[in-house]
């Protein structure tokens, strides 16, 4: 017997919300970025799983995951550049310190 | 000259003056002042001409309530907004009042040194709003000018005021804006039901009144909105609290214009828009507002009795007097309403005089606290005699304008024979006693009696005040020429109405003939 599709979805759900937890709870910008990666990966799993289980003869899910990975890579590169820049300016990379756009 | 152009002159002249003022260098204060005086004189002359012309044109048999009506399309098409002008006896009286108060206001602000040009620019803007409001008979245009008149208040008080001026300016503007929010709803409501099903909607007051197509259910909703909206500006209890703070902080001429003219916009609007366009709901709901305004009358008078700031006393007295205006309007008959308009006129002149005098006294003593002043009659007899005259006008002495108005109101109000009306009319009558109390309290305390905190050094009087341990000597003097011009102008107007009230009373009453029919 094979595991049902729900098993895979449970894993992706848990991973997604682990990422969400990290995103909300982390103080460190790099930590938040990592949480975002987790979320994106959870989504990727979903894409792939649905592709595999529901439309085994199509490629849409996989291709989308591929693009997500590409975009995620680009995004993390830019994000890290920004983080480094912020650090240079503020000597700190906790989210609470970035407030100059407030008020 | 077409009617449109003629009446528009009241708006155009201040506008032209604004342009001229704008072009003048701001350090040439003398030129600015004389320009203002000249322009205001032109407006006064126009108002006088309008009055004479109106009296000439007016014919008791003429079924048209408005004269000199004309209209120009503004937003064409579905909205049907016009710039429509026209005057009846009531608005002529109001325009005359405004013109007098504006010119005396200019003289009362002669001594403003700080940002003179900007001050007068805003002052002109205020008068544009006021005149525009009184000449227009299109609800949209009316509302537009209404807002134009309100906004400069904020800056005039906030910039040139005294004391807790930011707070006062904010409070005044917010409360009046709150009122105009109600008002806007009301106006849109009126507009929405302004014509029978299938016809073009209109903002024109005359047409709306003629169509009379609003059902009682809708009137019930929109009448209180409109009435309260204007009532806020008319200082109706319990929406009057902007008045004491606002007046106390405003510069002299602004207080004059505000209490003298702007508050009349409220009463005028209540009458012109709320009551005549929605007479059925008015009859039905009048009792609520009679209670409120009846409270205003007595409440304001009692409050004024224990205030210590001269301007607060006058602000509360305005609440009382303006309450009487709305109260009389709600009596819904020709006599009382004529009285109401006369009361607007009289109160406008008298309060303007009061605020002018308080400003002149304050300008020298730098205090308005009546506990800190005394015996000024010996120091500045001219101003003090004027103050006594203003006080006597306020407490309704025959021969001055207040009496005429009050008597017309009381006689008119007494036409309602039921206990409810009787009770409130008699309560209103008590206000004439209470008015005497607070007026004489001030007169006795600051004008009469021995000198208090005043030193005489070599024929010159000085007001001695202590501030933070330092002793200040402020030189005291009697009125100078521009102050005399301002006060004499107002006193003459007050006495003119008081001594021969017939012509103006007939002029107003003639235009109010229709109310007996309308509210039957």
């Amino acid at each position: 017997m094979n595991l049902p599709i729900e098993a895979y979805l449970v894993v992706s759900t848990l991973l997604f919300f682990i990422g969400v937890f990290g995103f909300i709870a982390r103080k460190n910008l790099i930590g938040i970025l990592m949480s975002v990666e987790l979320i994106l990966n959870a989504v990727n799993i979903n894409f792939v799983v649905f592709n595999r289980f529901l439309y085994p003869n199509e490629l849409e899910g996989m291709i989308y995951s591929l693009f997500v990975i590409v975009v995620a890579a680009a995004e993390s590169a830019v994000a890290i550049a920004i983080i480094i820049n912020v650090y240079r300016k503020l000597k700190n990379i906790s989210v609470e310190s970035i407030e100059s756009l407030r008020n | 000259m077409s009617n449109l152009l003629f009446l528009s002159l009241f708006v155009a002249v201040p506008l032209v003056m604004m342009v001229i003022l704008f072009l003048l260098p701001s350090d040439n204060k003398k030129a600015i002042r004389y320009t203002m005086a000249g322009g205001a004189a032109v407006i006064l002359a126009l108002a006088g001409y309008l009055t004479v012309d109106f009296l000439g044109e007016y014919n008791p048999e003429n079924p048209d309530q408005f004269l000199f009506t004309d209209s120009a399309e503004w937003y064409s098409g579905a909205l049907n907004i016009h710039y429509s002008v026209g005057v009846d006896g009531v608005s002529v009286a109001m325009i005359l009042l405004s013109a007098i108060v504006v010119i005396t206001g200019v003289f009362a602000s002669w001594s403003i040194e700080e940002k003179t040009k900007e001050y007068f620019l805003w002052f002109l803007m205020l008068s544009i709003g006021v005149f525009g409001f009184f000449i227009s008979i299109d609800l949209f245009t009316m509302f537009l000018f209404y807002e134009v008149a309100l906004i400069p208040m904020y800056l005039l008080i906030g910039l040139w005021g005294s004391g807790n001026k930011e707070y006062a300016a904010m409070k005044l503007t917010l409360m009046l804006m709150g009122g105009s929010a109600f008002l806007m709803l009301g106006i849109f409501g009126i507009y929405h039901y302004s014509a029978p099903q299938g016809q073009d909607l209109t903002f024109n007051i005359i047409e709306i009144a003629k169509n009379h197509s609003m059902d009682i259910e809708e009137q019930r909703l929109f009448f209180p909105l409109t009435f309260v909206g204007f009532g806020v500006l008319g200082a109706m209890f319990p929406f009057h609290t902007w008045s004491p703070d606002g007046h106390a902080s405003a510069p002299t001429a602004v207080s004059m214009l505000h209490a003298g003219v702007l508050m009349k916009l409220g009463g005028y609007g209540c009458f012109r828009v709320a009551m005549t366009l929605m007479p059925d709901a008015c009859k039905e709901q009048a009792w609520i507002f009679i209670v409120l305004t009846g409270i205003s009358v007595v409440y304001g008078a009692f409050s004024a009795c224990v205030q210590n700031d001269l301007k607060y006393i006058n602000a509360y007295s305005s609440v009382s007097h303006c309450g009487l205006v709305l109260f009389a309007l709600l009596m819904m008959n020709q006599e009382a309403m004529t009285g109401a308009v006369l009361q607007m006129l009289s109160h406008g002149l008298m309060t303007a005089l009061f605020f002018a005098l308080i400003g002149m006294i304050y300008g020298q003593t730098h205090t308005r606290d009546i506990r800190e002043l005394g015996g000024l009659m010996q120091v500045m007899p001219y101003l003090c005699v004027c103050y006594v005259i203003a006080g006597l006008a306020s407490l309704g002495l025959p021969g001055l304008s207040g009496f005429v108005a009050e008597m017309k109101i009381f006689v008119g109000s007494f036409k309602h024979a039921d206990t409810f009306h009787r009770f409130f009319v008699i309560a209103g009558c008590t206000s004439i006693v209470i008015t005497a109390v607070y007026i004489l309290r001030v007169v006795g305390k600051i004008l009469f009696g021995p000198l208090y905190k005043v030193d005489k050094i070599q024929d010159t009087y000085f007001y001695v005040s202590e501030h933070n341990g330092e002793v200040h000597h402020n030189k005291l003097r009697d009125a100078v020429w521009f102050e005399k011009v301002a006060t004499i102008g107002l006193i003459v107007s007050i006495a003119a109405i008081g001594l021969c009230p017939g012509w103006i009373s007939n002029m107003i009453a003639g235009s109010l003939k229709f109310v007996n029919e309308l509210f039957k």
Binding site: M1, N2, L3, I5, E6, A7, Y8, V10, V11, T13, L14, L15, F17, I18, G19, V20, F21, G22, F23, I24, A25, R26, K27, N28, I30, G31, M34, S35, E37, L38, N41, I45, V48, V49, R52, F53, L54, Y55, P56, E58, L59, M62, I63, S65, L66, F67, I69, V70, A72, A73, A74, S76, V78, I80, A81, I83, I84, N85, R88, I93 | -
Partner: protein, 181 residues
Amino acid sequence: MDFDFIDYLTGQNIMFVVLSAIVLGCGLMSVLSTKILRAATYLFFTLFGIAGLYLLMNYEFLAAVQLSVYAGAVVVLLIFAIFLVKNLGHETEKVSCSKKGIAALASVLGIVMTLVIVFNEGIVPAVVGPTAPQVDMQLIGDTLLGSGKHQYLLIFEASSVLLLACIIGAIVVATKSKEEK
């Protein structure tokens, strides 16, 4: 239906459970660890586990991309960033309990919600189990570079432009400006 545990004890399933455990365990550790460097390391394992899951579903190409891009590039980038930021590797992050609590609450709520939906939806898979024929590399190439129906040349090109923009942007942002020097 009678639930028979033995029926599920296939290599495929065992592998899935192991990989899931790695993914979830390491993911959780990654968000919970107070030291950022450790978090990055856990993240690496998570991504690795996910690549395993892809393999399990016979998407070798995707697994390879996952490994090379994520595990190879992104995590390395992160670690570089951590080192570039002074002392960050040694700092412990203190997060207030209430913040954690709120985050946990939101997450748990979300999990419950999602799972309820997942199990109530009654998804009927077209195939039973993840095993399916491998995807032909040529097919992937055609799909990515073709311009017909279900083909993604345009997006491919767009993402390449995106990457270019990112490279330039990252350089611009990260370069010290002249005044700072």
